[in-house]
Symmetry: C2
Subunit: 166 residues, 2 copies
Amino acid sequence: MVSPVRRLSVVLTVEEVAVTDLPETLTDRTAFLLQLALGRAQAMGEEVLVEVGISGREYGLLAVIAHLAPCSQITAARTLGIDRTTTVALVGGLEARGLLRRTPDPANRRANLVSLTDEGEQVRARAAEALAACDDRFLDPLDAPDRERLRALLGRLVAGGDPHTG
Amino acid sequence: MVSPVRRLSVVLTVEEVAVTDLPETLTDRTAFLLQLALGRAQAMGEEVLVEVGISGREYGLLAVIAHLAPCSQITAARTLGIDRTTTVALVGGLEARGLLRRTPDPANRRANLVSLTDEGEQVRARAAEALAACDDRFLDPLDAPDRERLRALLGRLVAGGDPHTG
DNA sequence: TATTGTTATACTCTATAACTATA
DNA sequence: TATAGTTATAGAGTATAACAATA
């Protein structure tokens, strides 16, 4: 949140400048730029979600369940690309807070069908709204056409594959 | 590495299609697209770095040290935006493998100056080459002008701030 | 024999606190 | 009083193995 090093207008030591002194061997890497951008976007997202009372991962799960419900726990997990063992605690936490429910699947007695409660849907909608505003702030340096270009370029990079990238 | 779910040309159950069935409430989020793109880019990067014998994090450190050397451990850490406690093991591991050296700073007896050994520089150069080829493959869906557009757009998003984004 | 959900376990990465030696 | 390096520790996130119930 607070950078331990700030640029000063009067005194600049070698170490104080160093923060912005990244080598081209890093800034030329697309992955490095993506990492910097994602770090910020995620930090902004988690910050606004605090008021809503959920995490970014939990929003992802609520969004997927709202889209696919009723679906099995494992379908939601695979769609997000997260492990089914991780999903247990994630779904359990949301269920304990009354945001989703697990109901036995009559057609497959191994599976739980997960779906949002009314409160869960309200929380999801509030989070979506907050995150949209957050995206606007994050994309502030770009005008509308450039935002669309960025989205299109990223979309082409991730298209056609599966989300299971570890 | 291997997706647990594959699309079949003959039989498609609900669960098998679900993998690509992401809601717009997620795909509209820039952070989500960045996360998908970064996940792939990083997986590809770590894969090619296995042959070089270092991790992505270690490459970052080697690249920064090559750029700033000789610099203190903490300067390298801050430039990368990683904690100084994390840096201890990271630098220690690279030192143990003979890729960098720590020498006491005569001007500041608290500090270690870190710099690459000859072997460290060779490893860094080989990694940089492998990662450049990796970037080419990652950006394969885009032609040269589009790659430049993406780089420029990402650059504008991350410009002006510090890398300490958690 | 494979799948769903679950627990237990371990491993990495990260974050905090505290200590030392310097400044 | 603050900084550089270090250790210890605790917390997330993730991954593997194994189990029960079911298909």
